[in-house]
Amino acid sequence: MTLITIALGIFYCAWYLQHINWAVWYYSFVFFVCELIGLFLFSFFAFNSWFLRYHNPEGLAVERTFSVDVFIPVAGEPLEILRETVEAAVGIDFPNKRVYILDDKGNPEYQELATKYGCGYFAREDHSDAKAGNLNYAFFRTEGDLILTLDADQVPQPQIVNILIGYFKFPQVAYVQTKQNFKVPVGDPFGNADRIFYNVMQSGKDNDNSAFSCGSGVFYRRKALKEIGGFSTWNLVEDVHTSMLLHERGWRSVYYNHSLTRGTSPADIYGVYRQRKQWAADSLRILFWDNPFRRKGLTFKQKLQYFHLGFVYLVAAFVMPFFFITPIYSLLTQEFILTAPVYHYVLYRFPYFIAMSVGYGIINYPTPYMKAFQMWTGLFPVFMQATWIALRSSKKKPAYRVNVKTIGEAKAKNPWVAILPQLGIIFLAFSSIIYAFIVGGILWDCYLLNFVWIIWSIWTLSGISLAAIKRHQWPKEEALAQRIFPSFFSKTKELLLTVTLSVFIVLFFTIGDIYKIDQFLSSFRLEILRLVHIEKPATQPPNEIPKTSKVAEPGLEKVVEYPEKASLESGLSMKKEEGVKDGRWIIHVFSFRGQEKAKVYKEKLMAAGFPAYSIPAEVKGEFWIRVHVGFFNSQEEAQEVSKEIQKKSISQGPFWITKVSVREKENIRGN
C-alpha cells in the first residue's frame, strides 16, 4: 500500500509539474512544494512504521538488582493530585527504592506530605532552568543506580519497576520510556491520548534506536546521565534534548509499548494550546539551533528521526494551512493552479488521496488517525507561534509554564477567542463558496472541485473548533476501568466514508457530462439569485484578463446581465425614475443597408438629444441596420417624441412606433 501510494504520489507530482499554471507560479508552485512535502511526510511515516518493535508486557527477567530513586518534580500542582501520585509511588512493589518530591515552589504542605509518606524532599533556592534544573538539583544529591521520573499527576502502577528493571541488564541501555496513558475528557475531543504517537511512531522510532524520552514515566540510568552532566538544561523541557545527547554518545534506548502509569491531559483549549506550544517550541528549537544533522555521534536514521520531530511541526504550521487557503483563493480570484481539465486532476489526484488515506489507515490500525490529523492540522496557529518563539530563542530559553490540567481553571477565558484563526478560515471558506456562486462566470466543474476541497478543509478545522467550544467532562472512574473493544467497523468507518466519498467524486467528475453540469448549475444559480432578489448580478468577477498573454492589467468592469424576461421586467419597473431609458416603446426612425450611414443618423439623433441606438435586422434575406429611438413608457409618449424628431427635421417619417422585443433590448449597443 505504501509503495502504491508513493508511486501514485510521484506520478501525480510529475503530472502536476507538466500542467502547472506558471502565470500564478507564486501560489501554484508553492502548492506543488506543499504536495511534495506531504508525500515526503507520508513516506517517512510509512517507513518509520515499517518495523514496529513490540515488547513483552512482562518485560525482561530481572538478572541484576539496582537501587532506584523516584523523582516527582512539582511546580505548584494541587496537593490532592500530588498526594495520589506519591501514595502510588510509595506503594511501588520494589524494596530498594526511595521516593523524592522535588518542590520548585517551596510549599510547606508538600514537605508535610513528604514526611507523612516517608519521602525525600528537595526545595532548591534558585529556580533556574525550570524542570531540568529541578531534576538536576536532586540528581546531584541522590545516589540510586536508576531514576524513575514521574509527573505530579502521573500515577504509577506498583509493578512498574519490576517490569522495567530487566532492561537495564544490558549495559548500553540509558533509559526506558513507557507508553503514556492519559486520563482524557469524555470522547477525547482534543486527541490528547496521542495514540498515534505512542502506538505507532514511538515503536517505529524504537526500532531505529531513537525512541525519545517524554520526560515522565521514564526510567534513566544514572551512569548515563552523569556522562552528559545530568539532565540537559539547554531546552525548556529536558526530555528530548537529553535523549539526543545520550543517543549521540552511543547509548541505547528502549520504548516499552505498554502503559504503566496514568496521567492527566489538559481539558480546555488554552491548556491544549499551551502544552502543544511547549512541545512544538522545544522540538523546533532543536531543529533550528541544535540541528541533529550536525551531531556527529548520531546514526543517520537517528538524525532523520530527530529532524522529523521538529519538521512535522513546521509542516503543520506552514504547509497545511496552505492546503486550506488554496481552494479559497482560487474561488475568490478565479486563478487556478493547473492548466488541465478538472477530470484529469481528479483522475490523478484522487487515487493518490485514496491510497494515502488507506495507507495511513492500515499503518495506524487499529488506531483511527483522523482525529489526530484534525488536531495536528487544526493547531496550526499554535505551531506558528511556537516557530516564532523557537526562532527568537537561539541562546536563551523561552519562559516555562506548567501545563494546566484541571477543567475550569482557564474557563475564564473565552474559547472562541482561542480558535479565531481557525474560525476565520472556516468563515472565509464559506464566503468564498457563496461569492463565487453569486459572481458566476466560472467553469462549474472547477467550482465543484474547489467546493469539495473547501468542505474537506472545513471538516478538518471543525475538529478542534468544536472541541474548543464544547464543555467537557471527565469520565467516571468506572468508565476508566472498563475496557472497550470497538468493532472493526467503528474503527474504520471514517476511513471507509472517506474512500467511498472519494470514489464517488472521481466517478462524478469523469463520467458526468460537464456541459450538463454547466447548464444545470448556471440555471440553478439564476433561480437562486432571483429567489433572493439579487437583480442583475455582475456576470464577471472583478479580476480580469490572462496575465500570461501580453495584455494590460485587468480593470474593474461590471457587466449587466439580463438573464430572464421576468427579472428584466421587474428591473424595468424598479428603475422608472431614471426616465425614458427603461420603457418598453420605441420609435423606428430609419433603416439603412450600410453601417456608416446608420451611424451618421444615429449620431445626428443623439446630438439632438434623442436616445437613439442602432440594431441589425434581416428583412427578406437582406441585411439592414435599423435606427431606433427609445425607450418610452407609453405609446403616446413615443408619438410626441416622434413629432419632435419631425420638427427638428432629422426625418420626416413615417415613424413606426412599436413595443420593443426582449431580444432587441438585450442586443442594443451604444446609446
Partner: protein, 302 residues
C-alpha cells in the same frame, strides 16, 4: 458523422501543437468562465506528417476539445525555398492529386484516422477561392472543376478505407480572389453529399493594409453567408477562421456586433473558430483589454 448540441461552439487557433494547445486553451476556459470547444490545427502534406499524430489528437480530445484539422496539400511557406511563390507548386496541383500521386498518403491518413472514435472536424483545402494556396482554383494550373473533383476524389479514398468518422468542413474565403466571373464561390461547392459542414473564413483587416478598410462583422460575412446558405440551407455552418484588427475602429464593438448577429441573423452559424494569433496583424481576442472583456461578456450572453 454528427456532433451533438445546439449552442454556439467557440474555438481557437493558437499556433501550438496538439499537446501545448489544450493547456493554453484551458487557461482561456478559466478566463472566460466558459468552455472553448474547438481547437484548430493546420497540417501541411509537405515534409513529414506521413501519418496523423494520433496520440496528439487523442490528447486534445481527452482534454475536452474537438480538434479541427485543416489539411493542406502543399509545402507550407517555411518549407519552401526562397523566391518561390507559395501558390506556385506544380507538384501539388489539383491534377497531380487526381492523377493519383498522393493516393498512398491519403490512404495512410484515412486508415490511421479510423482509430479516432469520436468525430473531429476535418477541413481539407480551405480558402480554395483565393489565389494564395496551390489548391486555389485560379492558380497553379488548376480550374474550379478540378477542385470539386479533387475533393470528391480524396473523400472517396476515405470512404474506401471505411473512414466515416470525420466531419468534412468545406470552407471558402468570404470573397473570391480574383473576384471575377468563373471564380464564384458556388463553383467550388463539392455537393451536399460530399460536405458535412459549411464554413467561411473572413477577417476584418481594419486599416492595417493599404487595400483594407474597417469592415463590420456583418460586412465581412453577409455575402458569403448568403451564398453558402443558398447552396446548402440544411447544413450546419461554422466560421472556420475569423479575426479582427485593432486599427481603424473599435474592436470591442466589432465583437459585440458579431455575437449579436450570431444570436440573431446569422442563426445558422453553430461554431466560430477565432484565429487567435498575431500574424499579419494582432488578430487575437486579447489584443486589448477592452476587446477581451467584450468577448467574454458577449459570449457569456450567448
Amino acid at each position: 458523422m454528427e456532433i451533438k448540441g445546439t449552442e454556439l461552439r467557440v474555438g481557437l487557433y493558437l499556433a501550438d501543437d496538439f499537446y501545448e494547445a489544450p493547456r493554453k486553451a484551458w487557461r482561456y476556459n478559466q478566463f472566460f468562465g466558459k468552455r472553448i470547444q474547438i481547437l484548430s490545427f493546420y497540417i501541411p502534406w509537405g515534409r513529414g506528417n506521413q501519418s496523423p499524430d494520433l496520440a496528439g489528437i487523442q490528447e486534445v480530445l481527452k482534454s475536452g476539445f474537438i480538434p479541427m484539422i485543416t489539411w493542406e496539400p502543399w509545402y507550407c511557406v517555411q518549407e519552401l525555398p526562397e523566391g518561390i511563390r507559395p501558390e506556385d507548386q506544380p507538384k501539388f496541383s489539383l491534377s497531380e492529386i487526381l492523377r493519383g500521386k498522393y493516393d498512398d498518403y491519403i490512404w495512410q491518413w484515412a486508415v490511421d484516422l479510423k482509430e479516432i472514435s469520436t468525430p473531429i472536424f476535418f477541413r481539407p483545402m480551405h480558402e480554395m477561392n483565393g489565389n494564395w494556396y496551390p489548391w486555389g482554383g485560379k492558380v497553379n494550373g488548376n480550374r474550379p472543376e478540378d477542385y470539386v473533383e479533387a475533393w470528391a476524389y480524396i473523400r472517396s479514398i476515405f470512404r474506401k478505407a471505411g473512414n466515416d468518422k470525420l466531419i468534412w468542413v468545406w470552407s471558402p474565403y468570404v470573397h473570391s480572389s480574383p473576384d471575377e466571373p468563373g471564380n464564384e464561390i458556388w463553383r467550388y461547392f463539392p455537393g451536399t453529399q460530399e460536405v458535412d459542414w459549411l464554413g467561411l473564413d473572413g477577417y476584418n483587416w481594419g486599416e492595417t493594409q493599404e487595400w483594407s478598410r474597417w469592415q463590420s462583422f456583418q460586412e465581412v460575412f453577409e455575402k458569403g453567408y448568403g451564398h453558402l446558405t443558398q447552396l446548402a440551407p440544411e447544413k450546419p455552418f461554422m466560421i472556420g477562421e475569423v479575426g479582427c484588427a485593432e486599427e481603424g475602429g473599435d474592436k470591442s464593438e466589432w465583437i459585440e456586433e458579431a455575437f449579436g448577429l450570431l444570436r440573431g441573423n446569422f442563426f445558422q452559424i453553430k461554431a466560430l473558430v477565432w484565429f487567435n494569433i498575431k500574424k499579419e496583424c494582432d488578430w487575437r481576442i486579447e489584443s486589448s483589454k477592452k476587446s477581451f472583456i467584450s468577448f467574454r461578456r458577449n459570449w457569456s450572453l450567448c
